[in-house]
Amino acid sequence: MFSTRNFNRSKPVLFILILFPSLLWAYQFVNGNLGVNPIEKLMDELGLMALRLIIITLMITTLSNIKPLKSIVVLRRMIGLFAFYYVCLHFSTYIVLDHFLDIKFIIQDIIKRPFITFGFISFLFLIPLASTSTNNMIKRLGFKLWKKIHYLIYPVAILASMHFYVLVRADKTEPVIYMGIIILLLLHRIFKRLTRPQLVQ
């Protein structure tokens, strides 16, 4: 049995572990060690990290259904916020480094290219999630409404994985694996809902 305290204690370590890649890539980028096409590499790494963190937050919810791991849910907010952090870095790399703030071009790119459309909507949906993440916001909104808002994580995850899927030219194995995991996690939630004992009104 892992207690809430166990998980809370692991937070500082986890914080550093998840933050570290972004610092490393930034350092490598500045020093010209990110390979031959560093902007592309930076964008790919940041995006992939964000997608993986989004999937991990979904997994945490599922894992917390297992009795001994019930308290793991205390890690979800931090990981979710890190996902948002990586998405922001990913998006600003695209805007600033890849397209040099050419806003007209970027708007066209978002509209015209389905994979960028998916990624952009996914990013937009993450904003309300991140901005309602504090305890205070949960109180102010009430848990029910807050929970409803946070259902947005499902379209976020699906759109993010589609963003990756469409981007890949030929070998779609990796994005398909991510999509598979997301679908399994969603199916588990639906299944849980359907089999939940109905409360007498």
């Binding site: 071009f105 015209k112 070998d171």
Partner: protein, 305 residues
């Protein structure tokens, strides 16, 4: 034709130069461990740079050989460099068949002894919106076509890449339908810009760049420039090509570099030159408009992309 290198090197001299470069490479490596292994290029870069456009700069040997799209060795850009060590480009033969006087198989050495190896410095524009400037060594495809003696009914040329899954790990997975195929219209194939390249920077063609012999068609997206060619077929109908078969809504047979025809995945209006920070404008026919635009004067390029 500013970018077109026109230094003509007889094959013998070419071989000697290769030997010289190998020799100096070895001594350079002995002399200094810390400096770049390819520092010896610096001494004879002028051979290539004198034919450069003022806006272009050569990409380094390292850039050209560690960032490749060659799915036979894996789908990541670094895979060809990492996974091509077991590939054996010699001995090599090229089968010539289809609409020719006499189908035959040429030894690569025999082909090379009949052609003139030249330096050609070309821009390479990938459909993924990045580009490089590469000093190739090779000969005009038209020279081989003359040796092949196609019939007058031949209107297209098809090229096929070698299929050796044991040496090319990417082929063990069906990412695309192997072997890789490409094609050109006869007049495109005969254009003086179209070459079969056998080397770059004075080295024999590295495995990851399509050893021992590959096509280079500088006004088309990079995927047209098929690598490690084992078969050339002359046809009277337009051949199927690999990427077009896989995703016809994305890749066409012509695949001419064209900033005005959008691709669903990448804007083709700009490109990132490897080694540069800001994007640059993509040029019509990759800047070879003068040499090739006449080939397409009767073609709707938005339809035949």
């Amino acid at each position: 034709m500013k970018i077109l290198g026109s230094e003509i090197t007889p094959y013998k001299t070419y071989l000697n130069r290769r030997k010289f470069i190998k020799g100096s490479l070895a001594s350079a490596m002995l002399a200094t461990v810390t400096s770049s292994a390819f520092a010896n290029h610096d001494s004879d870069l002028s051979i290539y740079t004198k034919n450069l456009n003022e806006n272009d700069k050569l990409n380094s040997y390292e850039e050209i050989t560690t960032y490749n799209n060659f799915y036979e060795f894996g789908t990541h850009k670094k895979h060809p460099h990492l996974n091509s060590g077991n590939f054996k480009p010699r001995p090599w033969t090229i089968k010539i068949d289809g609409l020719v006087k006499k189908p035959q198989t040429f030894d690569l050495e025999k082909i090379l002894s009949n052609v003139t190896i030249e330096d050609r410095v070309y821009r390479l524009r990938c459909v993924e919106a990045w580009s490089m400037v590469i000093p190739w060594q090779g000969f005009q495809l038209s020279e081989l076509i003359k040796m092949a003696e196609p019939l007058s009914s031949a209107k297209y040329v098809q090229f096929v890449t070698v299929f050796r899954p044991e040496e090319m790990p990417g082929q063990q997975k069906r990412t695309i339908i192997w072997p890789y195929r490409e094609g050109l219209r006869m007049d495109e194939a005969m254009n003086p810009l179209t070459i079969l390249a056998t080397g770059l920077y004075g080295h024999e063609m590295p495995n990851q760049n399509g050893a021992p012999i590959r096509l280079v068609v500088p006004w088309k997206y990079g995927f047209k420039s098929i690598k490690s060619i084992v078969e050339i077929r002359f046809l009277d109908t337009q051949p199927e090509t690999s990427w077009e078969t896989l995703a016809p809504w994305e890749y066409g047979f012509y695949a001419n570099v064209n900033p005005n025809v959008n691709h669903p995945r990448w804007s083709q209006g700009t490109e990132r030159r490897i080694g540069e920070f800001k994007r640059r404008e993509t040029l019509m026919f990759n800047g070879y408009e003068e040499e090739v635009a006449h080939l397409y004067k009767d073609l709707d390029l938005t339809k035949f992309y």
